[in-house]
């Protein structure tokens, strides 16, 4: 059996979860990018044949446990996100960076809307469109992190 370095995927998820609970100054909490969403989109675009909705669902469940959200919140949101990025990965790969950035914004926005829906169900009213900020910050983070991740995944020959 040849090595496929899948551990790199797990490691990236663990780092994303760490960043997801990292303490931030109070006013910044709204702007925390969704690192797990970033990862899910990245891995689906890189290897759509083996990473899919199930992977996103598990990552989401782990995030729920770690952040203490209602179990299933992130799982549902990330699964929806994964579904849409699986549908469109061929186009996403062909986009230029600006288009990619915009598309990531839309995808994460969809994820945030699902998460926000659960929040409303739990009776936590969200002031206005604040919940969409992470979509913007995640999109801005995309061109900063993804080339590096892509490079690492290529070097390690993650399959």
């Amino acid at each position: 059996m040849e090595a496929n370095n899948r551990w790199f995927i797990v490691a990236s998820v663990v780092v994303a979860l760490l960043l997801a609970v990292m303490p931030l100054p109070l006013g910044w909490l709204w702007f925390r990018p969704s690192f797990t969403a970033l990862l899910v989109i990245f891995w689906i675009n890189r290897m759509p044949q083996s990473v899919g909705v199930g992977f996103a669902w598990l990552v989401g469940l782990a995030e729920d446990l770690v952040t203490g959200a209602a179990l299933g919140t992130h799982a549902l949101a990330l699964a929806v996100l994964a579904y849409f990025s699986l549908l469109t990965y061929q186009r996403t790969r062909a986009f230029n960076p600006a288009q990619q950035l915009l598309w990531v914004f839309v995808l994460v926005g969809i994820q945030q809307v699902v998460g926000n829906w659960v929040h409303n169900l739990a009776g936590k009213p969200v002031p206005g469109l604040m919940f969409l900020w992470p979509a913007l910050t995640t999109a801005l983070l995309w061109p900063l992190t993804i080339p590096w991740l892509d490079h690492m995944a290529g070097r390690l020959q993650v399959r």
Partner: protein, 264 residues
């Protein structure tokens, strides 16, 4: 399929507490995350301790000694008052006052969700912390434990929008319910009778009526009272005494019995 499973999980989680044992089991896996993200803070704390000059330490030491002396003197007079109080209560046949055991613990994390005010502390069931355990800091009440894992627990602050606690005014024992607002520096007393005697500057104590919080701990100060004749009730705004987002060390008040945490 997975979507359905997630939706089912969400509903179960929001409307029942069947998954609570699972979460508490998982806390053992989750604690390292908070512990790790807290590490930079601990390093700076440690460096701050190590890099202090001798003069500063000496000065701090003498300051603390003076403080200890003062506090000891105060606790001596307290002991006498307490004994007297117990005696009087016995005379009146009222319930015995229990001495609470207090446990010092450290805040290792904050909930990443901006909509909820939840802290993670480094003490759990192994140390006797159970759901319902009141948490306070040196200045006042902070909140209560909502989830206790083996060695960490999650604390819901009294300023969380879903939290409410029974309080009374120190000056005249008027009772009220202090609700969290989702703002770290503000509690609200809603549905006060227009005639109730509450003024700016009143200190609110926990009244112990809910059976959850021990009676007599400071909660906050009334900063403004709104009496509008057009409205059926008066409202008061309260500034909590506890330093919600600044305390690094908190106290867990252990009472021994476990209480279930219902939604309030």
């Amino acid at each position: 399929m997975l979507g359905l499973a997630a939706a089912a999980l969400i509903v179960i989680n929001l409307y029942t507490d069947w998954l609570q044992p699972l979460r508490e089991r998982a806390a053992a896996l989750v604690t390292p995350f908070y512990w790790l993200t807290d590490a930079p803070g601990r390093v700076t704390d440690w460096a701050g301790d190590q890099l202090r000059s001798r003069d500063e330490l000496l000065e701090e030491n003498s300051r603390l000694k003076r403080q200890v002396l003062l506090l000891e003197q105060r606790s001596q007079s307290l002991a006498a008052v307490k004994a007297e109080n117990t005696q009087l209560k016995e005379l009146m046949n009222s319930a015995e006052m229990l001495d609470e055991r207090v446990l010092v613990s450290q805040v290792i994390g904050v909930s990443p969700d901006p909509l909820e005010h939840v802290l993670v502390i480094d003490k759990g069931r192994d140390d006797g912390v159970v759901p319902g355990t009141p948490i306070m800091d040196a200045a006042g009440l902070l909140g209560q434990v909502i989830e206790a894992g083996g060695s960490s627990s999650r604390v819901l602050l009294i300023t969380d929008a879903s939290h409410a606690l029974p309080v009374q005014v120190l000056r005249n024992s008027v009772r009220a319910v202090a609700e969290g607002t989702g703002d770290l520096y503000r509690l609200k007393l809603r549905h006060l009778a227009n005639t109730s005697d509450i003024r700016e500057g009143d200190l609110l104590l926990s009244s112990g009526l809910g059976g959850r919080f021990p009676a007599g701990y400071p909660v906050g100060d009334v900063v403004s009272v709104i009496r509008d004749p057009g409205r059926p009730f008066a409202e008061a705004e309260v500034q909590p005494r506890g330093r919600m987002n600044r305390s690094r060390f908190v106290l867990a008040v252990l009472s021994g019995e476990e209480q279930s945490v219902g939604s309030e």
